[in-house]
């Protein structure tokens, strides 16, 4: 089946706007409170008192693009969609925890602001790409359809790309 990128684009935009609004208005504060409680053993050991001051806070919104991608991906069976979303949310939480810890340690160890930035950069970058990586693993069938579609020639169109492999 032909992937419809424009439809996905519109669905993504239509869902991320209200969810980001909800995140800023309410969920971010609630999540920070939950995060501080759930991660208290690690945060306590590192001497992190207040996560709300962490520069990593602005990356906590990464739940939004991940959840939206999981919702809009076509032909993903319900079990995989739900289970994948659940596992993804836990992994994103762990990613946030790692980011906060590395950021805290980098700021403590650095003598110049640019030094701390270079230490945090790899994980910050990873945190930015993480929702996409998670989605690509969970929704690999859709990704495979996309690959098949990209390599499908006019002469060799199968009508339904599922199950076939991309030439590479």
């Amino acid at each position: 089946m032909k992937p419809r990128p424009l439809l996905l684009f519109l669905e993504f935009a239509a869902l991320t706007v209200p969810l980001t609004w909800f995140w800023v208005a309410w969920a971010q504060q609630a999540y920070v409170a939950f995060f501080e409680l759930a991660a208290s053993p690690v945060l306590g050991a590192l001497g992190i008192v207040n996560v709300a001051d962490s520069p990593a806070l602005k990356r906590f919104v990464s739940y939004v693009p991940f959840v939206v991608l999981m919702v809009i991906t076509p032909r993903l069976d319900l079990r995989r969609r739900l289970l994948g979303t659940g596992v993804g949310l836990v992994l994103i939480f762990l990613c946030h925890l790692g980011l906060v810890a590395v950021e805290h340690l980098a700021v403590e160890a650095a003598t110049r602001p640019e030094d701390s930035f270079s230490r945090v950069f790899p994980l910050a970058m990873f945190a930015d790409a993480f929702p996409f990586i998670l989605w690509a693993v969970i929704a690999n069938r859709f990704l495979r359809e996309l690959l098949v579609f990209a390599f499908e020639t006019d002469a060799g169109k199968s009508g339904d790309a599922e199950g076939s492999e991309a030439g590479s």
Partner: protein, 178 residues
């Protein structure tokens, strides 16, 4: 072993694995490179700030520029490294390079994709400047929305555009897949 081979033969998993490896290589190289050639980042931030200032100036807005600080009618935005779109470019480059296609198509992808992502980024900062000046109450939402929430959207849109218009188009005209 057979399971690992089966996973590797799945092009989607192979893409994800290569993407992750390339991304890791890029993010490890980046701090080293910017430490060595930090002037490039300085030029990029100043150029981005100048571009924002120029666009606002061209439409007759009351705007000023002080190195990398752009002020629109009293609302100031400092252009830092993260505002240059470099993060998006790094993720996009890994996605293009990991995709199973020819070197030329990857080069076209980077050559077209990087300026498009940069243009998106300039537009994003312009929107934030206007919102910050005229609707400060929704600035935080817009900042998060046009940065983290849509970062993936920006990258995947340009990446899909490349797949559909360059990779697929050229595949259709080619006699066979190599």
């Amino acid at each position: 072993m057979d399971r690992i081979r089966a996973i590797w033969q799945n092009p989607a998993y192979r893409f994800v694995f290569l993407f992750a490896v390339l991304l890791l290589a890029e993010v490890l190289l980046y701090p080293w490179a910017t430490k060595r050639w930090f002037f490039v980042i300085r030029i990029l931030t100043r150029w981005t700030a100048w571009l924002e200032w120029k666009v606002c100036d061209l439409v007759g807005a009351s705007v000023s520029l002080d190195v990398n600080l752009v002020t629109l009618d009293g609302f100031a935005v400092r252009i830092i490294e993260e505002c240059t779109g470099i993060f998006e470019v790094i993720i996009f480059a890994a996605a293009v390079l990991a995709f199973p296609t020819t070197g030329l198509k990857k080069l076209i992808g980077l050559g077209l994709g990087v300026p498009i992502l940069y243009a998106f980024n300039v537009l994003r900062i312009l929107v934030l400047l206007v919102v910050g000046r005229y609707q400060p109450s929704i600035f935080e939402f817009m900042h998060l929305y046009f940065w983290q929430a849509t970062l993936i959207l920006m990258i995947t849109s340009v990446w899909l555009l490349w797949i559909f218009k360059v990779v697929r188009h050229e595949t259709e005209t080619a006699p066979s897949i190599s």
